[in-house]
Symmetry: C2
Subunit: 215 residues, 2 copies
DNA sequence: CTTTGTGAAATCCTTCACAGCG
DNA sequence: CGCTGTGAAGGATTTCACAAAG
């Protein structure tokens, strides 16, 4: 029974299961229980089972899930069966780090090109790539079939760059600029703001201090 | 009516409001409506109002929220009234980028020290800091009153480092390693996994393609 | 006897819609 | 009249608890 609609919350957890499955495979395991997956991801086994039930992928009662089968299933659902080409726009500190980050390549993505607007950066070598001028962006995206863009530009440039990559055919954006991006409905955006993350932590940290003081 | 318990989902949005308020202030605005904040953050005005109502902070009917007052209120709730010292552990590509990232300092955090286990990195200069040996970690955390650690170590080291910083007194961890960290209950963890973000995007991107093909 | 798969209950979050205040 | 603040309704997500399968 493949493919009911998969809830958003479940989708967000599938990568973690994938991660846990790869580890299990590396450890030589052929099956894992929902309890195993739960422990590896810091969740509850009931949640794991519910999530996996949306895939329609079957475990075996009394045994668990076949590691290899479930890995394939999740990879397929996530669209990771072939490497997906990615362009990184904005080669500052963060862009450079992302360009050299091997986690992307090891998990289904291929950094295909680096782009920056700053003339002094163009032509410089970063990792395996030469930084290309922003004017090349539309051609690059079209010619190489790129559908995913990673934006590490200054906040002030992000919206304009987003519009540009979308016009060129990108349909998914991972945005590191601390701004909300307005994009057409068919485009997905995820914004990762490092300061935001710290600020959220700050709240809970303070909360702990307060309640500890109160007790 | 200050301080009912603030829902998790609301807490996660407060930094965005803060961001929007700073922009409004820079633009010379003295008040903003929930509709303004909604537009700036890509949310609905009803959600903004509900969120802000949890702070107990009052807007003025017919007018909106006083920019300065609300900024102070949110900063206080998030515990950002003073700069908080942060240690970055793991000075690889990503750690280096984070160390030089000025967004942290501009939004309430102060990078206080950089630490790495690799002897060849120790003593090297990164931004304003000299990389210190991992053995110094407990002393650094204690002596400088550090309560927040940013982990950019290899996945295999993250859990051990987490245990170490927690033992030294850290109560909040921003984790960039793609692993679940087990920590005591009084410690908050947020894990940001860049590949995970791309994988989630990949799902929705594929979904769009499929449903476009079907139509 | 173990572990999945899932209805039903409980909880959390969002949206609606409007009373009420300035 | 404009915009906030909020009950109430509606959805989504999580948890519970257990029947069913190997």
């Amino acid at each position: 029974m493949t493919a009911r609609r998969i809830p958003e919350a479940t989708v967000a957890r599938l990568p973690q299961y994938l991660q846990a499955l790869v580890e299990a495979a590396d450890a030589g395991r052929r099956t894992v229980s929902s309890e195993d997956l739960a422990r590896a991801s810091g969740l509850t086994s009931a949640k794991v089972r519910k999530d996996l039930s949306f895939l329609g992928s079957y475990g075996t009662r009394g045994v668990g899930y076949a590691v290899e089968e479930l890995t394939t299933e999740i990879s397929t659902v996530l669209g990771l069966t072939d490497d997906r080409p990615v362009v990184i726009v904005g080669i500052g500190n963060l862009g450079r780090a992302l360009a050299s980050y091997d986690g992307f390549s090891r998990r289904g993505f291929r950094v295909e090109a680096l782009v920056d607007a700053d003339p002094t950066k163009i032509g410089t070598q970063v990792g395996d790539h030469v930084v290309q001028p922003a004017a090349q962006l539309p051609d690059l995206v079209r010619d190489r079939g790129i559908t995913i863009a990673v934006l590490a530009t200054p906040a002030g440039r992000a919206q304009a760059v987003a519009a540009e990559v979308v016009a060129a055919g990108v349909t998914a954006i991972l945005n590191f600029a601390p701004v909300h991006l307005d994009v057409p409905e068919h485009v997905s955006v995820r914004t990762v703001d490092l300061s935001t993350e710290l600020q959220i932590l700050s709240f809970y940290e303070q909360l702990g201090q307060v309640s500890a003081a109160a007790s």
